[in-house]
Symmetry: C2
Subunit: 173 residues, 2 copies
């Protein structure tokens, strides 16, 4: 079903996609889709969350600052591209109890958790995962969703530097 939805998304505009079209492409009935996902919004949010699932651990550059900058670069490439913005729109549109948008946040925390653990193993002082999400990822997401000027890697580096300069972090591990 995800493959069918992805294929249609590649071919058509968002407004042309319907549950019967996705079902037909996947070779099932529309009622199967409604039973499993409720409606098109929830199906597309599920597809979007799946597309944002990380396939590899974050790059190890040898330092916390470098790892965070590299992760930000990848996050920006994914999220601020036209396809990424469409995924974000689909995620935010979902309002089911088990919102796929929350899976997106969990993926982000998992990746940052790997970066923080590596820093602790190197003996580097490091802010916690929550502080990094609030100090770096949340402002980038806000910019992507609500601000006309595109956010770029220089902005991301400034956020990382400001967070690390606060020096609240302690070596952990």
């Amino acid at each position: 079903m995800h493959a069918a939805a992805r294929a249609l998304q590649a071919e058509r505009g968002r407004h042309e996609i319907t549950v019967p079209l996705v079902a037909a492409r996947a070779g099932v009935t529309a009622s199967t889709v409604y039973r499993r996902w409720g409606d098109l919004t929830e199906l597309l949010a599920d597809v979007a969350a799946e597309r944002l699932r990380p396939e590899t651990p974050p790059v190890d550059t040898g330092s916390l600052r470098g790892d965070l900058a590299a992760y930000c670069e990848q996050y920006l490439e994914e999220m601020s591209s036209p396809a990424g913005r469409a995924f974000l729109r689909d995620l935010v549109a979902s309002c089911g109890d088990d919102r796929p948008a929350c899976r997106c946040d969990l993926y982000i925390r998992e990746q940052i958790g790997v970066i923080v653990e590596r820093a602790a193993r190197r003996g580097e002082p490091t802010p916690g995962v929550g502080e990094i999400v609030e100090g770096v990822m949340a402002p980038m997401m806000y910019r992507i969703l609500f601000v006309a000027d595109p956010v770029d890697l220089a902005d991301a580096r400034r956020l990382v530097d400001a967070l690390l300069a606060r020096g609240g972090g302690q070596p952990r591990g």
Copy 2:
């Protein structure tokens, strides 16, 4: 047209609203709506941005910390209510050139600008508007959109306190 859309939103589920319904309620043809807004997504985003336009200046509590806490409280009430989340979904769904989501950010910056000016006039050291948006409003918005646990006023106060404790602000004005 906004009034017609708002009336329908109060009566029906999001998925039952269509351009012909809104047009009929407003006493115009559907083609008038398409000409002015392009499609339903853009119309609803425009309605949402209008609903988020502040009607009064932020409350003056006598201190920067108090003004920011009071503004956060109002922002949380508006944005994290079911109606507020629906507005946010409508805003984020829009992808027009002049995105209504950006108007939402401008309203936030205007209100915080008033708070920062007041603080400067009192001689209080204050972070800039951009620092407050990044340090307080963006993390709250991220939590509202992507995190399952509801964000509450205690979280907002913690963000305000952390920002002010950083002490990067200078008296301005």
